[in-house]
Structure formats: structure tokens, C-alpha cells
């Protein structure tokens, strides 16, 4: 590795001063992502405006053996975009052009720094939308979504980011520029595009991404249902699933989450409920006309305290507002919290929630639950007070116990937030040594020099302590809320 100064002079051949950030202040702004407990100051931050600059930078890093981390908006909740010691950050926000949007083909080709919601905004005038909707969608980038295979509230029906990406142009960590996929939904040979998706920045940097767009949904039917217990809400989800309907979203919140959301946004959720279930049907008007009576019948006999149907867009928006604000709202109940996103088989949701509750009591910590019930993706929020000695350690242990439980039940340690820095020591809960060794060899094939986001995903060097303190700065500013 060259000295910092020597490497900086090499970077100066690519970037003008305004786009090569070296001063302490900028280095502090990029030292963390959404997992704010970790912080590493990068050697420098570069802000490319063209693909060529990115390619030249990667070639330089490879030649000089200097690690790099690509960064979109830095909203990763697992430390994915945390800088690497002695390395640089490639900030991709200025590569934010929508290069082409073809309504006939229903595809959009975008640069990696394009904001998720901006794709839907650009598609809307054509009656189209981009389906993946992580709740950070106002701020996170398509490049970050691709690298982390981001999800959202509609994954059971529509899948995750990789289900909506049909081509990727990327510069690999070796400097090789590749174009995987094309303008067709279909391909011949192994699916290289799909392998790049979810590779957590370990293969290289995506330069152009081709997204599949879907027609806007014609009609929605959104219902808010209150229950006396989480079990009853969970049972209603099972009944809906076995009826043969395929709702766009099914979300559950527990009492603590409801109370927090109510205090924060006054969404008008029923008082005193131990759980609320949000079910949203979507589709053609004719299809909904058939499904609505079926859904009401199921809900009416599900032991609900109250069933409230959104009569217009405004009421629908209010129901979702309560749900979408839940995380940040819970965060306000406590000075610090940790959020996990493990998955359990849906049929074991009830069992998993009881276990989470039991664990919370065992560790003497409050846990709020907000989750994607349709796909078994939990989001337990563990509340603790960082200033109380031993509280953080207890919270970390509890978080670990929940991940163990998810793996033991045959689920996953992460449904959408990725492994990153935070969960790398838990990868072994899901995969054998051989499985992990195999994945590492794949990684080595893409990045033999070990320069692209090294130290993430795989168990290895001493990991910094696991902790997520408080809200993301953007949440504090009220810009963001999380799911």
C-alpha cells in the first residue's frame, strides 16, 4: 500500500479538488452509515461524475492495493457502506441520471446514484412504477438497493430488488468492465445479473442498472384490523393466506409500536389494541370486487376488536403513515435501540413472537415488534439505555439470541438489510464452513486483490461491537422513517 499522500496525488490526476475530499470534516461525515455505532474515517472521499472516473479509480485502487467502498446514500443498517481503514469512499450520488426510460419496453436504465423514489416519479407520467419500496426510498439509491437486494412491504407478491433488475453494467474489482443481462426479461446461460445483486459491494461498482417497471395498480383495498393479541392477528394472516388471495401487503404492529406511532403521527389507530394488522388487496377493480367480500368474511370471524376499511386515498395514506412511522416513533420512546430483520417461516410467527417476548423478559429489555407478516420478516426493536452500564451488552446479546432463533427455525438472519458488518459473525448460523468457503472463493474470483469493500459479510477479523444507537441522523431530522 502506498502512503496516503502518494495515493492522494494519484487521485488528483482523476479528480479536481472539489471532488476529492480530504479535510477532517468531510471524512467525519462519511465515517458511518445507518449503523451509526461503527465509525471509520476514510483516507479520502472521491465524488465521480462519470463512469470513466469510477473505472479509473478502481483500476488505481487495484494497482496500488488500496481498498474502496462504494457509497450511495449511506443508509445501510448493517454497516455495509462503512469505510475501510486506510481506504477510500467512492460517493456515487452525482451519478444520478436516469439515462433512458422506455414506456413501451417498460424499462428504465439508470445510474447507480439515482434515488429509488425518483424512478417511480419519472415512471408515473407513463402510468408505470418501480415496485421495490424500502421505507428509505426517499433517500436510498438504486446502486445501494442492488448491492443489498433491498426489500420493502410488498416482497411476498413482487419479490426484492433483484427481481426487478434485468441488466447491470459494472466495473469489477479487477478493473474489468462487464455488461450482464440486456433489455430482455430472459437470458441464456447462468444469471450473472442476479449474482451481482445482493453482493454487498464485494464484487465491484455498478455503473448502470436496467430496471423493469410495472404498470400502476388500478385499485387498492386497505383494511386496518385491531386484535386483543398478536396470536389472533397472526391467525388472521394464516386464514387469508389459505383462502387463496394474494394481498400486496400484510403488516402487523404490536402494542408498543402502536402506542408509539399514535403518539408520533396520530394515525387514529384503535385504542387499547394489543395488535393491529394492515391488509392491502390490490389489482383490477373486477378482481377486487370478488376478493373484498371474501376478505371481510375472514376478518369478521377472526375475533377482531375492530375492522376499519379505508374509504378513500386519504384514509389509506393515514393507515400507512402510522405503519411507516412506527420505527422512528418507537425510537423516540428510548434513547437507544437495536433493530434486527431476521425471517422465520410464516407459520411459526406466533411461536417466534412469544420467544422474542420471553427473551425480552429474560434480558429485562423492552422489545417493540413491527413486521412484514406476509413473508415472516421480523423487525424487533430492542430498546435500551446506552448510559446505563451493561444495558448495551444485554441488548446485543438479545439481538444475537433473536438471530439464532430465526436461523434455528429454518428462516434467515436477514430478510433485507444484508449481512454487512453487523451480522457477519452470524453467517455461520445459516451456512456450513464449506458453504461459506465456497462463497469466499466466489468473492476472490471477483476481487483477487481484496480491495472491494473488504471485511464485510464474512466472519473474520475482530468485528467491532454490535450496536445501533438511536435514530439515523436523517430520521432525527424527520426526513426518513424506517420499516
Amino acid at each position: 500500500m502506498p502512503t496516503d499522500n502518494a495515493f492522494v496525488s494519484l487521485l488528483e490526476t482523476i479528480y479536481p479538488p472539489g471532488r476529492l475530499l480530504l479535510e477532517a470534516g468531510s471524512r467525519v461525515s462519511y465515517q458511518s452509515d445507518g449503523l451509526t455505532a461503527f465509525a471509520v474515517k476514510p483516507m479520502a472521499i472521491v465524488v465521480p461524475e462519470t463512469s470513466e472516473e469510477v473505472i479509473d479509480t478502481i483500476k488505481l485502487c487495484k494497482r496500488e492495493n488500496v481498498p474502496f467502498v462504494a457509497r450511495g446514500s449511506g443508509t445501510s443498517l448493517s454497516g455495509g457502506s462503512l469505510p475501510v481503514d486506510g481506504g477510500i469512499v467512492i460517493a456515487l450520488n452525482r451519478l444520478n441520471r436516469i439515462l433512458a426510460l422506455d414506456p413501451t419496453l417498460r424499462i428504465a436504465r439508470v445510474e447507480p446514484g439515482v434515488i429509488n423514489l425518483d424512478v417511480t416519479r419519472a415512471a408515473a407520467p407513463h402510468g408505470l412504477r418501480y415496485a421495490p419500496d424500502p421505507s428509505s426510498q426517499q433517500i436510498c439509491t438504486i446502486g445501494g438497493n442492488l448491492a443489498f437486494n433491498a426489500g420493502g412491504a410488498h416482497c411476498l407478491k413482487y419479490g426484492m430488488t433483484s427481481n426487478h433488475v434485468i441488466a447491470v453494467r459494472a466495473v469489477l474489482a479487477t478493473g474489468e468492465v462487464v455488461e450482464f443481462g440486456g433489455d430482455s426479461l430472459e437470458g441464456v446461460g447462468p444469471d450473472w445479473t442476479a449474482l451481482f445483486a445482493g453482493s454487498e459491494g464485494l464484487f465491484g461498482v455498478a455503473l448502470e442498472i436496467t430496471l423493469r417497471l410495472l404498470p400502476e395498480v388500478q385499485a387498492f383495498h386497505t383494511v386496518l384490523v385491531a386484535y386483543d393479541s398478536l396470536e389472533a392477528a397472526g391467525q388472521a394472516v394464516s386464514d387469508i393466506v389459505s383462502s387463496g388471495m394474494l394481498p400486496g401487503a400484510m403488516e402487523i404492529m404490536d402494542a408498543l409500536a402502536i402506542a408509539a406511532a399514535e403518539a408520533a403521527v396520530h394515525a387514529g389507530y384503535p385504542d387499547g389494541a394489543d395488535a393491529v394488522l394492515i391488509v392491502e388487496l390490490e389489482g383490477t377493480e373486477e378482481q377486487l370486487a370478488c376478493e373484498i367480500p371474501l376478505l371481510s368474511k375472514i376478518l369478521d370471524s377472526s375475533g377482531a376488536k375492530e375492522v376499519r376499511v379505508a374509504v378513500d386515498d386519504q384514509e389509506r395514506a393515514l393507515i400507512w403513515k402510522g405503519r411507516k412511522s412506527a420505527f422512528s416513533a418507537v425510537g423516540r420512546l428510548s434513547p437507544d435501540f437495536i433493530v434486527q430483520d431476521g425471517v422465520v417461516p410464516r407459520a411459526r410467527l406466533g411461536e417466534a413472537l412469544s420467544e422474542v417476548k420471553r427473551l425480552g423478559e429474560e434480558y429485562n429489555l423492552r422489545v417493540a415488534n413491527v413486521f412484514h407478516a406476509g413473508d415472516g420478516n421480523l423487525h424487533p426493536l430492542i430498546l435500551y439505555e446506552g448510559s446505563v452500564k451493561g444495558s448495551l451488552e444485554r441488548a446485543e446479546k438479545l439481538a444475537g439470541a433473536i438471530l439464532n432463533m430465526c436461523a434455528r427455525m429454518g428462516g434467515s438472519i436477514t430478510g433485507e438489510h444484508g449481512v454487512g458488518m453487523e451480522k457477519r459473525d452470524y453467517l455461520g448460523e445459516m451456512f456450513s464452513e464449506e458453504d461459506i468457503a465456497f462463497m469466499k472463493r466466489i468473492r476472490d474470483a471477483y476481487d483477487p486483490e481484496f480491495v472491494s469493500n473488504p471485511g464485510k459479510m464474512f466472519p473474520g477479523k475482530e468485528a467491532p461491537a454490535l450496536s445501533m444507537r438511536g435514530l439515523h441522523p436523517l430520521e432525527q431530522a424527520g426526513v426518513l422513517s424506517r420499516e
Partner: protein, 360 residues
């Protein structure tokens, strides 16, 4: 149940004496050009069968690679579920592993996604005979690299697939097919674009070279009738196909019998934008053609040996790649090829000793 075990399959790659020979898995053998290669021994997967896990309320099943699609479809059907991407050749005995290895989806692909969008997990044997697992058994999972999706289309050249986990959906109560008869393919294409951008949620959109467009709807019977009426008001020259006619059409499409049993059949992924250009180009050779998945794939079919070369040239000129599914030995990939050095390096991770045939 299975007469083979995963360990026995893995040990094929470790056996003394066969070290130098190349191996390839064969499912039911429906796609001959993909497995009938020179100097290659076959690992028969037809003894490695059975659905190992299926809980309808999870929308997920896991099955061994040699299991026939028809068996899976039947079991899913008993619980009102299905694989919405319509894996082809089910009636001909195609296996799940062969379907994944070929990366084949059918007409239903356009609504909820293709095979690569429904595969969740895989267990495979690599070229060293090591058994590796990737992905998961739940509908949502972001841990580790997505090897299950990657292996869709790997043609047995990277690994022997042992077990596969898939997401499934509730099967719609009913299907309804509308046929539009247009004078030209260009007219049909205009209709297709309208339908594909609409909120009618078409379940399938297939084009015939003679200008017919087949639009399939799926959902509740009553809803389908109403929806069909409003579509017929918007798009001209259409009529609702009777159940028998519709079934016959979709069966032909799925079984690749629309150009007879002897012909070769090839899959050529296209962008809808390529449709008319490709159609004009194949008119110069002796090839039958139909266009599936809202014009995202061209299915080409021809009978004469000599035609293969001509098709290859047409595709190269248009920079399109093709995969021959039914036909003769050694004709697997035709048309345009793109190669990057990363592909060889990844192949070397799966198969360092080249025990499986090369990727291209």
C-alpha cells in the same frame, strides 16, 4: 422415493478411474442438445426424486432435482397452488433440475416473474464433489450470495443440482384466453404494447408470426368475464377462446409441439424492440417462429440440418444469442456470444478440474 442419495451423486465426482472423464447431469432427458455431448458421461438424476418439504401455508416447497415437474404440479394443485412461471415440457416429463439448469420459463412469466424470480434455495455438488448450500427456505432472505438465481440457466456446466427450493403462489380460480386476429405482426405488436402497459394484469401475452395475439387473464371467473369485455371494447379483432381451444393452444406452446415432434426448438431472448427486425430476418431462412412473454423471447423452430448454420448467422448479425432445447447433439448455444474473463474465473470456482463441459 429416491433410489440415489446426495452423497452417492457427489461421489461420482470423486471416484477413482473416472477422474479424467467429463460429467453432466441428466434429468429426464427432454432437452437433448444440452446433454448429448461427446466424451461426456451422464449422471442420471432420475433416481434422485421426491418432494422433501412442502408446507402450503409457507408458499414454499423443496424437491430433489430429478423430481418431475408434473409430480410437483399435481401436489401443488391439490393445495390450490402453482408455479406461476409455467415451466415448459411438464407433460413431457421434464425434471425440476433440468428446468432450472436450462433456465426455462413459460408464458406466465410476465405477470409475477420467471423461474429465476421464484427460486429461493439450492443444494448442489461442485466439481470437486463437495456439497454446497446457498439461499434459504423462506420467501425472503438476503444472506450470502444469490447462487440459486445464478444457477438458473447454468446448463449443468457449473454444478450438479441436488435440491431446489421454490416460492409458489395460490392458483387463480380460473383462466380466460382472448385471441386477437390481426393482419400483420406489426399490428399485433401494437396491441401487445397497449396490453402490456395497461392495468389489465395480463397473465400471458403470446404472439404468433401470422399476427395473432393471445392474451390470457387469470383470477376469479366472474372478474375475468367483465375484464375481458372491457378489453374487447378497447382492442379490436378479438374473441374469447373456448376452454378446449384455449387448453389446446397453451399445451402446444408448453410442449414445443407447434412445429411437430421432429423439429429443433431454440429459445432466443429478445427485447420487444428486436421483434420486427428478427421476424424479417428469419423470413429469409426456413424457420418457424413464435414470440412469447410479451415479446421478450423468440422461439425458433426448424427441421433441416443445414438450417442450423443459417439461424446461427442470422442471430449473430442481430447480436442475439440462442439456446437449442430440442434437436441434435452438440448444438447447444447458437448466435452471438459475450465472454468476460470473470466468467472463466467463476467457472473455475465451481469446477476447478473441468469435470463439467465448458460454459460456452
Amino acid at each position: 422415493m429416491s433410489s440415489l442419495t446426495a452423497k452417492e451423486i457427489a461421489s461420482c465426482l470423486r471416484e477413482e478411474g473416472v477422474e479424467s472423464s467429463r460429467l453432466l447431469a441428466r434429468g429426464s432427458g427432454t432437452k437433448k442438445p444440452l446433454w448429448d455431448l461427446e466424451e461426456t458421461s451422464l449422471v442420471e438424476m432420475s433416481g434422485f426424486t421426491g418432494i422433501s418439504e412442502y408446507d402450503p401455508s409457507e408458499y414454499v416447497f423443496t424437491a430433489r432435482a430429478g423430481t418431475k415437474l408434473s409430480e410437483i404440479e399435481q401436489v401443488l394443485g391439490e393445495h390450490g397452488q402453482y408455479m406461476p412461471f409455467d415451466p415448459p415440457l411438464a407433460e413431457c416429463g421434464a425434471s425440476l433440475g433440468g428446468t432450472v439448469a436450462t433456465g426455462l420459463s413459460g408464458p406466465g412469466r410476465i405477470r409475477y416473474g420467471g423461474l429465476r424470480d421464484f427460486i429461493l434455495g439450492v443444494q448442489f455438488v461442485d466439481g470437486n464433489g463437495v456439497i454446497v448450500k446457498s439461499g434459504g427456505k423462506v420467501v425472503k432472505n438476503a444472506a450470502g450470495f444469490d447462487l440459486p438465481k445464478f444457477l438458473a440457466g447454468s446448463m449443468g456446466r457449473l454444478a450438479i443440482l441436488l435440491e431446489l427450493t421454490f416460492k409458489v403462489f395460490p392458483k387463480p380460480e380460473d383462466f380466460l384466453t382472448i385471441c386477437f386476429e390481426n393482419k400483420t405482426l406489426a399490428d399485433a405488436f401494437d396491441q401487445l404494447v397497449l396490453a402490456s402497459r395497461s392495468h389489465w394484469e395480463p397473465d400471458a401475452l403470446e404472439l404468433e408470426a401470422d399476427g395473432r395475439l393471445f392474451l390470457r387473464l387469470a383470477g376469479n371467473s366472474a372478474a375475468l368475464r367483465l375484464r375481458a369485455e372491457s378489453i374487447l371494447n378497447k382492442l379490436k379483432n378479438g374473441f374469447i377462446l373456448g376452454t378446449d381451444g384455449a387448453n389446446e393452444y397453451w399445451r402446444k406452446v408448453s410442449n414445443f409441439t407447434w412445429n411437430g415432434n421432429k423439429a429443433r426448438y431454440a429459445k432466443v431472448p429478445i427485447s420487444p424492440r428486436d421483434l420486427l427486425r428478427l421476424d424479417a430476418a428469419v423470413n429469409t431462412v426456413d424457420v418457424e417462429c413464435r414470440y412469447g412473454m410479451a415479446a421478450n423471447v423468440a422461439w425458433l423452430s426448424w427441421v433441416n440440418d443445414g438450417t442450423t448454420k443459417q439461424v446461427d448467422k442470422v442471430l449473430r448479425d442481430l447480436e442475439l444469442s440462442g439456446l437449442v432445447l430440442k434437436g441434435h447433439a452438440g448444438e447447444t448455444l447458437i448466435g452471438h456470444r459475450v465472454e468476460y474473463s470473470i466468467q472463466n474465473r467463476v467457472k473455475a470456482v465451481f469446477d476447478p478440474e473441468n469435470r463439467f463441459p465448458p460454459l460456452s
